[in-house]
Amino acid sequence: MTPLSHYLIFSGILFAIGFAGTMIRRNVLVVLMCLELMLTAANVSLVGFSRAQGLEGVPVYDAQTLALFIMAIAAAEVAVGLALIVAMFRARRGVESSSLNTLKD
């Protein structure tokens, strides 16, 4: 009933919202959350393509395997990113990205 293009448009808009969040927000924690949003949007389009290319009532599982890999890498990325944010909080007493101006002046 729903064509593939609607899933892709949903995924594109979700990706764009995450992208806008990484540009607008100053809080590094929220920027990291928006990165997660973008990875999830990629997963939605992967699952959509796995359904569209499916044969005989079975989706193509290569795409879903890739989505699973993306989830695992996202978990590792969040662990490292949050450790970096904790280190940044210790060094700068804040999590605002505007406080990271060592290279600027």
Binding site: N43, F69, A76
Partner: protein, 215 residues
């Protein structure tokens, strides 16, 4: 399930997911952002269930909403993050960010509507390659039957138009089994490398996050 109800549920969940995703970037308190993100991931998991990817939906809930979001909340609690105040230049930032993101969304949407075989548009690149091929080798395309057959198989519209192919109801329950078979046969080496990547992330997080000694 009735396809009409399934489509209606998809649009409902998609709208809810987009609204809660906007909430992530609009709400000023990071705790509210994190909870809004959890809501968004829940709706995306519902969309995965709707598309028949039950295992990925469960994984989405367990990994994202269960593990990653709790980690975020722990860090927000630990660091005592204040909610963002109105800083100068935020409006200009917002306008530029919304403009660029809107252009990105429009680009992706127009590309999605021009998929080969999609209704209401065809891929311009597809038509271009077809005309180029018939220009370069008109004789081969017209005389050799096997070549024209090959070309027909190449230029046949991909199954991207119309509704998605329906899933076999008998195989819906075997989703995790089929995914696991694919994961442990074709992508076994990749899975091992992924394990090393997780280990590296773990070690990296500990080494970055530990408190340095003063001496």
């Amino acid at each position: 399930m009735n396809p009409a109800i399934s489509a209606l549920l998809f649009y409902l969940f998609a709208l809810a997911a987009l609204v809660s995703a906007i909430g992530v970037i609009v709400l000023r308190n990071p705790v509210s952002s994190a909870l809004s993100l959890a809501l968004c991931f829940g709706f995306v998991a519902a969309i995965f269930f709707n598309m028949g990817a039950a295992f990925l939906g469960i994984t989405q809930i367990i990994v994202y909403a269960g593990a990653i979001l709790v980690l975020f909340l722990f860090i927000i609690m630990m660091l005592d993050v204040k909610s963002e105040d109105h800083t100068s230049g935020l409006l200009r930032h917002s306008v530029v960010g919304v403009l660029v993101a809107g252009m990105l969304a429009g680009m992706i949407s127009s590309a999605a509507l021009r998929l080969p075989g999609a209704v209401g548009g065809s891929c311009p690149w597809h038509a271009f390659t077809e005309s180029l091929c018939s220009e370069l080798c008109p004789a081969a395309a017209s005389t050799d039957p096997s070549a024209s057959e090959l070309q027909a198989s190449i230029s046949a519209p991909a199954p991207y138009g119309g509704a998605l192919p329906t899933l076999d109801p008998a195989k819906r329950g075997a989703d995790a089994k089929l995914l696991g078979q694919n994961l442990f046969s074709h992508y076994n080496l990749t899975l091992v490398i992924l394990g090393f990547a997780l280990l590296a992330g773990c070690v990296g997080a500990v080494s970055v996050g530990r408190r340095l000694r003063r001496d």
